[in-house]
Symmetry: C2
Subunit: 307 residues, 2 copies
């Protein structure tokens, strides 16, 4: 059982109301890999980095069963760098710097050794590149999950719509769901988006949890109310990694099991925000994860009696 | 088993992005009574109206087991009138008109026949009046629930703090919890507020559901994702009515049963927003409520397997 993860491996510099970091490791594929590697091996990474991406980070990922054959290292360029400042609500942020560097040349190549993977997680990336990855796979994975963002809706909508027809699960946040569908009601938005291709839609609402839509069914996963949200960077990717990690581990892509996968993703994301960058993701154990899953169950369990 | 409900019975004129109404019946105690009367009789109303409040509305409420002995009718004044316009998100609104009318003279009097009630729902009102109601009760109710709003935090904070010491459950929305506690994190806010007196705190988050805090425990109730939110007016009061109605019916004020009560409140509120004013609340049957409770259970149920 393997999962291919496509996305960025990069540097971030982050300011929040509670502190700031120098350049630290980040990137969507980094967070997905840290989360998913709690559930299965191998995680097969596809990304691009520059000469400055730390070897220790590569070693750490390898020790967790993350394969890096699909990570291109560009010897004379720097890694992608993003810097941003979060507002008090931790849901909105200003981008301060975006240095594409190697990302400008990213043309993901699937290594021969990755062929046959049953799960594919397409991190947020130019839709054309996401499509090219799908087309390189000789056997269609059992499940393709795609993350995207408002930027591509505004600059590459046609390409995005094309790749949407090829995937099973789309993950977006609430603002993006509204933008993509031109509907304010998330229920109406979901109905429209499910007509665009994906059979499942996950709408992430940050501290307000996440919704899973499939046909006429809907599932509401809470977010764990946290005393401190230290740094939300990577929380969405960590959620995605936990989600696909659970599905791949259990080899079950039913709606019922996707509900559980969303809870697993939410639990992982609740760790991610506790420290800057992926730091907390390096620390947690299976036992920590199990305890938090029990907290989620406590959080929403209730008995119902009919009137 | 009886519940005393204190609050406004009034007129509203409402504009939403989807339509507008002329003057229609509203008021916190009206909504609470409609909701609670699905669960128990009598609901013992304490309010004040002018000569213009419709007799048919009084008759409708009476037919549902709502006692009106505590509703003062002022022959030469008009009922309280509020007019507002909701923004697209339906969570924020501008007040266009507030005509206090009879409300300026409101001095709630508990009729002798209401003495001995086991439950007390104090709708949003000047904290001094809320306190006066509690002091008029010769026997302390088994459970006192208080609703309030930011206006009183800004204009009568000392009075509010005094009455908070006398109640069991406080209901506020997320912005109000932050304002009252001076904490952005709702978990931190809850900790501070629980030190102010109430043993239970309910934080209402509109379309994002509601949180119940008690000691170190927390429960997250989802809101039902709705295709259309037609008019949110009264949804919070309807939630309160369902909450206290369920508790009074089951005579069980444990944390576990409060979770169920919040789901019941959320189910009732999900009806309220489907039409303007309390119209939908007049239509629904026990069967409708049961069906919606089952939907809530579906909405959040998941199986967890440990890693």
């Amino acid at each position: 059982m393997s999962v291919i993860v496509v996305g960025t491996m990069a540097f971030d510099a982050i300011e929040t109301p509670f502190g700031k970091t120098e350049k630290i490791v980040g990137g969507s594929a980094t967070y997905v890999a840290y989360a998913a590697s709690n559930f299965l091996k191998p995680v097969q990474q596809v990304s691009i980095v520059g000469y400055d991406f730390p070897g220790e980070e590569m070693d750490e990922l390898k020790s967790r069963g993350v394969q890096l054959d699909g990570v291109e290292i560009v010897k004379d360029k720097k890694s992608f760098f993003w810097s941003g400042r979060y507002h008090m609500d931790m849901n909105t942020r200003d981008t301060l710097i975006t240095d594409l560097n190697v990302l400008a040349d990213f043309n993901p190549q699937i290594p021969e050794s990755y062929q046959g993977a049953e799960f594919l997680m397409l991190g947020n990336l130019m839709p054309k590149l996401q499509k090219s990855v799908i087309e390189q796979l000789r056997e269609r994975p059992k499940l393709i999950v795609l993350d995207t963002m408002n930027f591509w809706m505004e600059t590459a909508l046609d390409d995005l719509k094309e790749v949407l027809k090829m995937v099973d699960v789309l993950m977006v946040n609430d603002a993006e769901a509204r933008e993509l569908s031109h509907e304010f009601s998330l229920v109406k938005a979901a109905k429209k988006i499910l007509l665009m291709g994906p059979k499942y839609l996950i709408i992430k609402k940050g501290e307000h949890g996440a919704l899973l839509f499939h046909g006429d069914e809907v599932f509401y996963a809470p977010a764990l109310p946290l005393e401190d949200v230290f740094d939300p960077t990577g929380a969405g990717d960590t959620f995605a990694g936990g989600f696909i990690g659970h599905l791949a581990r259990t080899k079950d892509v039913s709606f019922e099991n996707m509900k559980t996968a969303i809870i697993v993703g939410s639990a992982l994301a609740s760790f991610c925000v506790e420290k800057f960058g992926p730091e907390r993701m390096r620390e947690i154990t299976k036992d920590d994860i199990d305890k938090r899953l029990m907290q989620f169950q406590e959080l929403v369990s209730f008995d119902i009696e009919l009137v």
